[in-house]
C-alpha cells in the first residue's frame, strides 16, 4: 500500500478522472449487471499498473534532430 501513498497518487487520480468517459464506454463490453464491478476493477488495475510499471527510456529531444 505504500506505493499508493507517494507522489504518484495525485497524478494517478488525474489520469483516472480524464479516462472516465473511456471507461464508461468500455463498460458496454460486458453485461449490464457486471458493469459496476468492471468499473471498479478497471480503476484498481490502472492504479496498480501505474504504480508498478516503469515508464522510462524516453529518447532525448535532440536525438530527433541529429
Amino acid at each position: 500500500m505504500v506505493i499508493f501513498e507517494n507522489r504518484y497518487n495525485e497524478e494517478t487520480l488525474t489520469i483516472i478522472e480524464n479516462f472516465i468517459p473511456k471507461i464508461k464506454q468500455c463498460l458496454h463490453n460486458t453485461d449490464f449487471q457486471e458493469r459496476e464491478d468492471l468499473e471498479q476493477e478497471i480503476k484498481l488495475k490502472i492504479i496498480e499498473k501505474l504504480a508498478t510499471v516503469e515508464f522510462q527510456d524516453a529518447p532525448s529531444f535532440w536525438d530527433f534532430f541529429s
Binding site: K22, E41, F55
Partner: protein, 194 residues
Amino acid sequence: MEKQKIEEFFYRNNEQVNNPIIKSFLSDSNNLYLVQKAILYPTDHNKKLVDESFQSHYINVRKIKYVSNLIYFFSLDFDKKRRRLQNRALLILDKGLSEEAGTTAKELIEDASVGTKLDHIVDGGLLDNIEDEQLLKSLQKLTIKQLQILEMIYVKELSIKEIAHTLQTTPQNISNLHRKALNKLKTTLNKKGE
C-alpha cells in the same frame, strides 16, 4: 535575425517537426519557448531543460496510451472470464444428479398444483371444524366461493397468489372476496349479538 534562425531550424527539420510526439510537445507554449531558447543559445543548460521537459512529456504520452489500451483490453478479458464462469455453472435440469443414478434434477421439482383440487374443499374442511353455532350459521350465509377462499386461507394456509392460481383469477380479486367475506361475517355476527 533571431526569427530567421528559428524558422530555418524548423524548415530544415520539417519532417521531424511533423512527428506527432514532437508536434504535441511543441504545441505547449512553454515547451516551444524552451526550444526556441535552445536554438538561439545552444548551451548545455538550455538543451538540458528542453530534454527534461520533453522526457516528462514523452512518458506522459506513453502512460496515457498504456492506460487507454489497458482499459479496452481489460474490459474484453473481464467479459470473457465472466462468460466462461457462467457457462461452467449452467443449470441443466435433465442432467443426472450423480454419476450412475438415473434421477435427474428436473424429476425432483415439486408440482405445486397437485393436491389443491377443488372437489372436497367446502364439505371436508372449514365448516366441519366450527363448534360455535352462531359462527356456523353466519358462515353458511356466505357464497360458496367466499367459503372456498376462507378455507384455503385459514385451513390449508395457502398464499393469496396460490389461491388465485387454483381459482384462475387475480390475487387482487381473491383479496377483495376475502375482505368482503370477513365484513359479511362481522355484520351478521354483530346483528345476532344485539
